[in-house]
Subunit: 194 residues, 2 copies
Amino acid sequence: MSTTIDVPESSNVAKGKAIAVAPARPGGWKKGVAIMDFILRLGAIAAALGAAATMGTSDQTLPFFTQFFQFEASYDSFTTFQFFVITMALVAGYLVLSLPFSIVGIIRPHAAGPRLFLIILDTVFLTLATASGAAGAAIVYLAHNGNQDSNWLAICNQFGDFCAQTSSAVVSSFVAVVVLVLLVIMSALALGKR
Amino acid sequence: MSTTIDVPESSNVAKGKAIAVAPARPGGWKKGVAIMDFILRLGAIAAALGAAATMGTSDQTLPFFTQFFQFEASYDSFTTFQFFVITMALVAGYLVLSLPFSIVGIIRPHAAGPRLFLIILDTVFLTLATASGAAGAAIVYLAHNGNQDSNWLAICNQFGDFCAQTSSAVVSSFVAVVVLVLLVIMSALALGKR
């Protein structure tokens, strides 16, 4: 062993990896994954912001009213939709704040630290986004179809625009969820294969 | 560089890690993580199975009826609850099938393959479990509180047992979700730090 001490170990490791994975450019595919990560993150920001904004502006007042009632539906009629707006805004905010770490991942594709940080927080916010998207979908489904056994009538006949807007917000949140799942899987692959 | 070739690189790498992380037993903490993974997986199986079974057996018939109606609520009154039972059973089935891979992780704590396989599928089934848990929670919330603007009345006054049973199923599914998040984070840490 004493004859090998003067060779720095890090260069040894990097050389071994370069031979095993990418002969031409050392770690080139990891840089590709990091760039893809950044691009997907931008897409997820757009989807999450779009979901929050679409849901947050959903509001419909019917053109007829009785002496006591004016018929109005907006996102804050439903606690679930309020939760949806808040969590989607949180997810979008987190994704914006995560962009610098994604850039660090592009500059230093072999650093495990930022990738580990991102995969853990991505998993947490994936759970948050999925929860709000699925809860919103359950309510949207009820608004469209109603439920006989509990005597909940479908409201989409009256509040058509409201239903269309909340439905598209839910679809947009599912896009964000799919992108977050991809981000977690890509980070796991980049962490696992060295 | 040519003087260093006769030293096998793998032992060199393993030595560097043993010094950095665990001086006594090389990779001992990884074995601990793998054992923890197995135990947590057993807990998640219990939670997911419990959630599916509790929801699947929820059924309440009221002791009064009219000429045309008998008032009954069961999980298949609500599409969301049917989805809940199916997905929770799927998640429990996946977790049972994942146990052998977790055991492989205990026997070979440094193998990245099974861990990578598990973290990717864990992420997918985490999303599935979160979606069904959150959708179930949205319906349970409506059943408890109703919604004024859409004129959906709370049904928990009449169907008290049904509500209690579905609520506990949702709580059980959230336990499974938390455990799955922990599993993903632990796998990520074990993959990232070598």
